[in-house]
Point group: C2
Chain length 147, copies 2
DNA sequence: CTTGTTGCAAAGGATTTGCACGGCT
DNA sequence: AGCCGTGCAAATCCTTTGCAACAAG
């Protein structure tokens, strides 16, 4: 169930689409990386294996993955979007080191509960949320303690 | 101290810049609106008062406000950036109605504390964060209860 | 034949930048 | 004179789209 390739194939089949070699390669590289990639980065990785795959196909395939629920478009503090693999259905938030860029996925039940509460007390029915924590990771603090 | 116009003038003076009529008008409209505007929206509002003010100046002035600590660039789930006025130093998060677009500023001390805790337990020194809650506000739920 | 898919190049939208002009010190 | 600030247009970056060719059912 946590095999994204299989889930992708199922989605493709269920929707009368074709599982083309291009799509397979893009999806495979995307999930193997496991990171939050921009279309540009993913395209470069894919083209390293197969020069003939165009940028547009990468864009289209990422959108397709989003529709299939296998990826999520994320807007961090940059111009271009990043795509995050959703191997499973689990939600999580982000903890990003502003020094080295490390991006850790975190989840805290207490926070989730309080978010629900804040929304409710404002008359909102909470449907989803996004939380990004920025800080300096321990490694970076050691390397450049006082600077 | 909560007069952004004055704070802007101070920043301008402190940095050897000029408080031009264009900048004054842009800043005034921006803070009077009090909302999260895109450059395009702000530009339209400004040009309604003075056709001669160019888009580029609006872009440049918003960047300047950010440098002055009077505005903050926010990336919601859309292509273009939005700018939020920082009248005072107070931090807050966002609660957005996905039906009508209403954007409520919220703050919960309990959540803030737990964020600190989550970062620490991952070895991070927390420097800042961003949290956006998405939901349906009470008005929208009443209007279109089941649809 | 009909529909889906692709790469390319063109188009689009948002933002930045080069430039010549004008204003302030 | 010298720097700052402006509007305009061009340039850039990221993303989408039109199109002709091709593949699959």
């Amino acid at each position: 169930m946590s095999d994204p390739l299989r889930r992708f194939a199922t989605y493709i089949a269920d929707h009368g689409l074709n599982n083309t070699p291009q799509r397979r390669r893009i999806v495979e590289v995307f999930f193997k990386s496991g990171k939050h990639l921009t279309t540009e980065e993913l395209s470069a990785m894919v083209r390293a294996q197969d020069k003939s795959i165009g940028q547009a196909t990468v864009y289209r395939t990422l959108k397709l993955l989003c529709r299939a629920g296998l990826a999520k478009e994320q807007h961090f503090e940059e111009l271009s979007a990043r795509y995050e693999p959703l191997d499973n259905e689990a939600h999580h938030d982000h903890l990003i080191c502003t020094a080295c860029g490390r991006n850790v996925e975190v989840l805290d039940a207490g926070i989730e509960a309080k978010q629900e509460e804040v929304a409710r007390s404002n008359g909102f029915m909470l449907t989803s949320h996004r939380m990004i924590l920025y800080g300096i990771c321990s490694e970076c603090r050691e390397k450049r303690g006082g600077e």
